[in-house]
């Protein structure tokens, strides 16, 4: 049951993850389609004459639309072929990056059907706007030069660029938030010390020979301290809501409290911090079978004023537990969660595992080799099986790390594709304004002022995108963060960084074309007539 449930949870998690990935991938596809729309309509202004002539020659609107959509389909097909090739090439790297084993299922009919559907969808999406835009050119207005300001405040092209960059900025902000959240949690004070700490589950004769094993480990200088516990201290113990404590609010039966037991040297071995009182030590105090340690959260949950010396009861076993010490909260379970109120019993019913803190004076490999000999001696029929606690702890960050890497990858892709479009667009704008630039230079414009003139229009759009993306990303990432009890506050600094980053990248992209146009010799560009 338990395993089944865990598997199902993991499967659901993966399903949710791949759904999110699909959504983001669709957005990125949309960004690329926008590039196609914008660049083909921009290029079309140079093709306007051709279209005008075709129309005058009798081409119907439908025929022209067909022509443009066919062009988009062809592009989409070629792109699909390239995409397959690229996926094949980068899949191994991607698999190592996010630690999976994805592959292309060439022999699946569904794969090809999806692929085909995507080609058609992409072709239609990318091709329809240019098709209708271009075929609606009126021949007269193409031949006759229009006397209208071309840089209208709102044009479809500008809206599309804004849309592109809005997505890109949202992804950049998300990446920064995810990264900050993971780093923030990684930096969280664990409250204990897990390096050089090894967990060994009881198997065979370990339980029986625990005292001898402990003695050897310490006497041979392998371990600086050893303890045994009932449950895993990293994952947390069992939960109970039956404990009663002094001055408790009547019928508080909802609060669950984590409980496990230890025999002695728990604090010394795990490096937990004792806030008050003393550690459990059954060897020194025989009464410690009925002593407990509380963590700070437990003290808070129970609302105890002077906890040490007070009694808490468990109605099920009818034992009075004496509180002898308080430990600082340490992370149990997911580091993203709140620390549960925890009660650590003195040696009670049973133990399941032991923790060994290796002697820091010798190397880990050396300690392991020596420890193995000790375990071979007292538990000969079983292999020496152990886990490093710090590695177990680190595993809890696997999924966060993966999300972080994927988000970074997507954000980079989105901004790259958007800038590719911006690059093409700025080239075509510089091209179409080449005469004007020449004239302005002759009238005394500096390279800087021309670069500004050509870049600023685009940067304005990027700024609008940032303004739109900021609240959207804030909302989305706040919802994402709700899943984590231990989480960052999204400060405005993140938006400033994302905004500046985007502006700088966009500026580099457009100023390349702008500077190229600005330093060209005006004489060459005016010499046509």
């Amino acid at each position: 049951m338990q395993i089944d449930g865990t598997l199902r949870a993991a499967a659901m998690c993966i399903a949710a993850e791949s759904l999110a990935i699909t959504k983001v991938a669709l957005f990125i596809l949309l960004i690329a389609c926008i590039n196609f729309m914008n660049l083909s309509t921009a290029r079309s202004e140079q093709r306007a004459k051709e279209i005008g002539i075709r129309k005058v020659a009798g081409a119907s609107k439908g025929l022209l639309i067909g022509q443009f959509i066919t062009e988009a389909f062809l592009t989409s097909c070629i792109a699909a072929a390239f995409a397959l090739l690229i996926v094949q090439l980068v899949l191994p790297a991607f698999n190592t990056l996010i630690n999976t084993h994805l592959s292309i299922v060439y022999n699946s009919i569904y794969f090809w059907m999806y692929a085909l559907a995507f080609i058609v969808f992409t072709g239609l999406l990318a091709g329809s706007y240019p098709a209708f835009y271009l075929s609606s050119f009126r021949p007269v207005s193409i031949f006759k030069k229009q006397f209208k300001r071309t840089n209208a405040t709102i044009s479809p092209r500008k809206i599309l660029v804004v849309l592109q960059f809005t997505f890109a900025v949202i992804l950049i902000i998300s990446t920064i938030v995810i990264r900050s959240q993971v780093v923030y949690t990684q930096d969280r004070d664990k409250g204990y010390s897990n390096n050089n700490l090894v967990q060994v589950n009881f198997a065979g004769d370990i339980n029986k020979n625990y005292a001898l094993i402990k003695q050897d480990l310490i006497n041979l200088g392998i371990a600086s301290s050893v303890t045994k516990t009932m449950t895993d201290i990293v994952r947390g113990g069992y939960h109970s809501w039956g404990l009663r404590w002094p001055n408790e609010i009547p019928k508080d039966t909802v609060t669950t409290i984590t409980i496990y037991s230890a025999d002695a040297d728990l604090i010394k071995t795990t490096g937990m911090h004792l806030v008050e009182g003393r550690d459990i030590d059954i060897n020194k105090y025989s009464g410690d079978s009925f002593s407990v340690l509380l963590n700070e959260s437990a003290v808070k949950t129970m609302g105890l004023k002077n906890p040490v010396g007070q009694i808490i009861k468990n109605p099920f076993d009818n034992i009075n537990w004496l509180i002898i010490g308080i430990v600082k909260d340490y992370i149990q379970g997911s580091p993203y969660n709140n620390i549960p109120p925890t009660v650590i019993y003195g040696p009670g019913a049973w133990f399941n595992m032991m923790y060994i803190k290796f002697n820091p004076a010798s190397s880990t490999a050396n300690s392991l080799a020596k420890a193995e000999q000790v375990f071979k001696k007292y538990n000969p029929s079983y292999p020496f099986d152990y886990k490093f606690v710090d590695q177990q702890y680190a595993q809890q960050f696997d999924s966060g790390q993966r999300t972080k890497k994927m988000a970074g990858l997507f954000a980079a892709l989105a901004i790259f594709i958007s800038c590719l479009g911006l690059f093409g667009l700025s080239a075509s704008v510089a091209e179409s304004r080449i005469k004007e630039i020449g004239v302005r230079k002759i009238l005394g414009a500096s390279v800087v002022s021309i670069t500004k003139l050509l870049s600023f229009d685009f940067i304005k759009l990027v700024i609008v995108s940032i303004v739109i993306a900021t609240p959207a990303a804030w909302y989305a990432m706040n919802r994402w963060l709700q899943d984590y009890a231990y989480r960052i506050n999204i400060g405005w600094g993140i938006f400033v960084i994302a905004g500046l980053l985007t502006i700088v990248i966009a500026l580099i992209t457009v100023s390349f074309q702008a500077i190229k146009a600005a330093i060209a010799n005006p004489v060459n560009n005016l010499r046509t007539e």
């Binding site: 006397f147 209208k148 002759i442 500096s446 005016l526 046509t528």
Partner: protein
């Protein structure tokens, strides 16, 4: 004002040196009105561009107002022509997206003149050229003659000492051309602006006080 000495200009085409200007020696005094004539391809535009500092010569020296032009840095040269030279083109080269007013205003913006002052200067210019009524129109809404009028107004708005005009009447009919020539004469006389124009028309060339004939990149001796 202008001293061109031993100016040669060539370009490399297919490993050969093609000469565009050969041994040009030309002195222009302030206040002169000069016409340059010559067959197509004889180097008239090239010479004008060299004088306008838009193009460099391959050899020789060019003194403009006692400054050695070829030894100046690009930026200083731009500063110099921006301040002292106005250009008029055969194809007008007005900026399509800007109104008449804005077209004329542009050089002043690049000279960092303040907005209030610009308004006064442009207003004055519109007045002088009788185009106040057209100030909010776009170039495409004007006739060729009117466009060239705007082009000249724009060239003069920053009060240059030298006006360089490359076939200013080339796209105009003779009546429109005559008007432009009369305007040039007036500017030359009343404002003391030095004018060098390229023209194909004998009649228009005659408005200049001196005519220079170019042939194959060389000044023809008469």
């Amino acid at each position: 004002m202008i001293k061109l000495e031993k100016i040669f200009k060539w370009v490399n085409s297919g490993g050969n040196r093609v000469f565009l200007l050969k041994d040009i020696n030309l002195h222009v005094e302030e206040g002169e009105f000069i016409s340059i004539m010559g067959p197509s391809g004889s180097g008239k535009s090239t010479l004008l561009n060299v004088m306008g500092m838009l193009d460099e010569a391959s050899e020789g020296t060019y003194q403009f107002l006692d400054q050695n032009v070829f030894s100046l840095k690009e930026k200083q040269r731009a500063q110099l022509y921006k301040q002292y030279i106005g250009f008029v083109f055969q194809a007008y080269h007005l900026i399509d997206e800007l109104t008449v007013y804005e077209n004329i205003e542009t050089p002043l913006i690049y000279q960092n003149i303040k907005s209030a002052e610009r308004q006064a200067i442009v207003g004055d210019m519109l007045d002088r050229f009788n185009i106040v009524g057209k100030k909010d129109l776009f170039p495409a809404q004007l006739s060729g003659g009117q466009q060239q009028l705007v082009g000249i107004a724009r060239a003069l708005v920053a009060k240059p000492k030298l006006l360089l005009a490359d076939e200013p009447t080339g796209n105009l009919n003779s009546e429109q051309g005559e008007k432009i020539m009369e305007l040039f004469t007036k500017i030359n006389k009343e404002d003391g602006v030095t004018i060098i124009q390229v023209t194909h028309s004998e009649k228009n060339a005659a408005y200049g006080k001196r005519i220079i004939h170019l042939l194959d990149g060389r000044v023809e001796k008469k």
